[in-house]
């Protein structure tokens, strides 16, 4: 079984109007090479479901997004994502704003084939008011109201991992795999970029297979893309690129996304992109953040 694809093949599988889940968390382990490939494409009207960072900001800035399903969009050390802010403040995008735990429940419901999962989250808040599609229901077992968090069924999920083999066995060695396992399970098709492509024998060592969080049946395609999470991190291989994020963020106030896009993304391959940001060696030497 060989699931290897190019990033162009992967983006070729996407269609206008699709609902796309993006793994990672804020500035961490985002499939940015795939995001850049989407930015270079003519895709539009996407619904993005994500624990959002620059992935969401860039796609909004480039006019690719119809709707964002989110709990936050943030670059962590830069709390507010500049282009997501602009898109919201200009009224350019629809949103479904939910708690970050609700998003997890929605992905689980989709993965498990349930129409919804009951939860207390959202009760008493405006999350219920601004999302009329969120139903509050009576429990058959107690006298309380519950929120019926609907399944967040995804057409496609896009993820970046440390290592994978050609069958789609994916390893995340970083301290946290975030919700990537649930994004993989909630989608009809899941496409993964990886920093390293390894032989299947690599996972024979239980110390390595311990860091595989979903079955290969949940992976549709794999693309080798070293440094493909840049400027987000792929711990422990590299941290996030603080100066690059600062420049990205500053561009929103001076010139807008076109300035950033022209400098780093337009008319590039991922190889050319990496040259423009200092090369793979420089990416691989980005230090891990201290919390």
């Amino acid at each position: 079984m060989d699931k290897r694809m190019t990033t162009a093949d992967i983006v070729g599988e996407l269609r206008d109007g699709m609902t796309i889940g993006i793994g990672g968390w804020g500035p961490r382990r985002k499939p940015m090479a795939l995001v850049r490939e989407i930015l270079r494409s003519d895709l539009k009207d996407l619904t993005i479901v994500a624990y959002g960072g620059a992935d969401v900001g860039m796609l909004c800035a480039a006019g690719k997004v119809k709707k964002v399903v989110f709990a936050f969009v943030s670059l962590d050390f830069i709390p507010l994502e500049p282009y997501f802010r602009q898109a919201r403040q200009n009224g350019e995008i629809e949103v479904m704003e939910i708690d970050e735990g609700m998003m997890l429940l929605g992905l689980r419901a989709a993965a498990w084939g349930c129409p919804f999962i009951p939860t207390r989250i959202g009760l008493g808040t405006d999350v219920i008011k601004v999302n009329p599609e969120l139903k509050v229901i009576d429990s058959p077992y107690d006298d309380k109201e519950w929120v019926a968090m609907p399944a967040l069924k995804l057409d496609v999920s896009l993820l970046h991992v440390d290592r994978a083999d050609e069958r789609g066995v994916c390893q995340i060695r970083g301290a946290d795999h975030y919700m990537d396992d649930w994004f993989a399970r909630a989608a009809d098709k899941t496409f993964v970029t990886c920093d390293e492509l390894v032989d299947s024998d690599y996972f024979a060592d239980p110390e390595e297979s311990r860091y595989v969080f979903w079955e290969r049946s949940a992976t549709t395609g794999v693309s080798l893309m070293p440094g493909g999470a840049h400027p987000s991190s792929c711990a422990p291989l590299y941290g996030f690129d603080v100066p690059h994020f600062k420049e990205y963020s500053a561009s929103a106030k001076a010139g807008g996304f076109a300035v950033y896009y022209d400098k780093y993304i337009s008319n590039t391959t991922e190889e050319e992109y990496q040259k423009r940001v200092g090369g793979l060696e420089a990416i691989r030497s980005l230090p891990a953040p201290v919390y």
């Binding site: 936050f72 802010r85 009224g91 708690d99 970050e100 009760l123 008493g124 107690d142 309380k144 919700m179």
Partner: protein
Amino acid sequence: MSTPAKEFSLAELMICAGAEAFRNDGEVLATGIGLIPRLAASLAMKTFNPDLMMTDSEAYLLSEPNPVGNRPDNFVQKNETWMGFSRIFDNVWSSKRHAMVGPTQIDQYGQANISALGGSYEQPKVQMLGVRGFPGNSISHANSFFVPGHNKRVFVAGECDMVASVGYNRERLPGGYSLDDVDLRLVITDLCVMDWQGPDHQLRLVSLHPGVSVQDVQENTGFDVYIPEQVAETVLPDEEQLRIIQQLDPHNLRASQLKGNPAGRR
């Protein structure tokens, strides 16, 4: 017997006052969002509530709070268990947690907002983070608030522009719930300490920081604060607390948290 500190900053006073929020919590996950709340929870864990649990703000539960900022190369953090984001929710929903958070807006009901300000929901004037984990935290476990600048833009009249967390608001109370199901604890500001134990869960003044008057508090709050007959002065830091804070924050990052790093006695 503790020795009162002669000199201390307002940040240090707020860290010590914030630690009190966790005093009687027992064995719960203490989460301080931001430097001063994190130091407050860490101080509580290092002094009067060693049963507290804390994370490294990444993916591990620790038996000892990590010092903030860069740590020496040979530093080994005291891991207890893996505690990645998905497992944090298992803890949150089990209610064994107390978070101290810094909302942009807090209203008379203790509802809070970090999502967006002004305009319409479709087009807010100022987009901030989004509701993040506020809805789930507030309905699941205890929450305290940290407010570095006590003013009417934070403590707003009416309701928050976007109510991200549940508070003591009968109008919004879900079916089957009572106000006692909501668990809001302390509010630590640069002026005072408050809680939500006034009549009908009204915001109540608990103690004033040195040099602050009742009038200062009321004038900077966009709704009525319940003022009891006796209002104490906030308990001042002692030498032992300052020594532990110094260990927890060896690079003195706390000095840059409040504008001008004011002294604790004004």
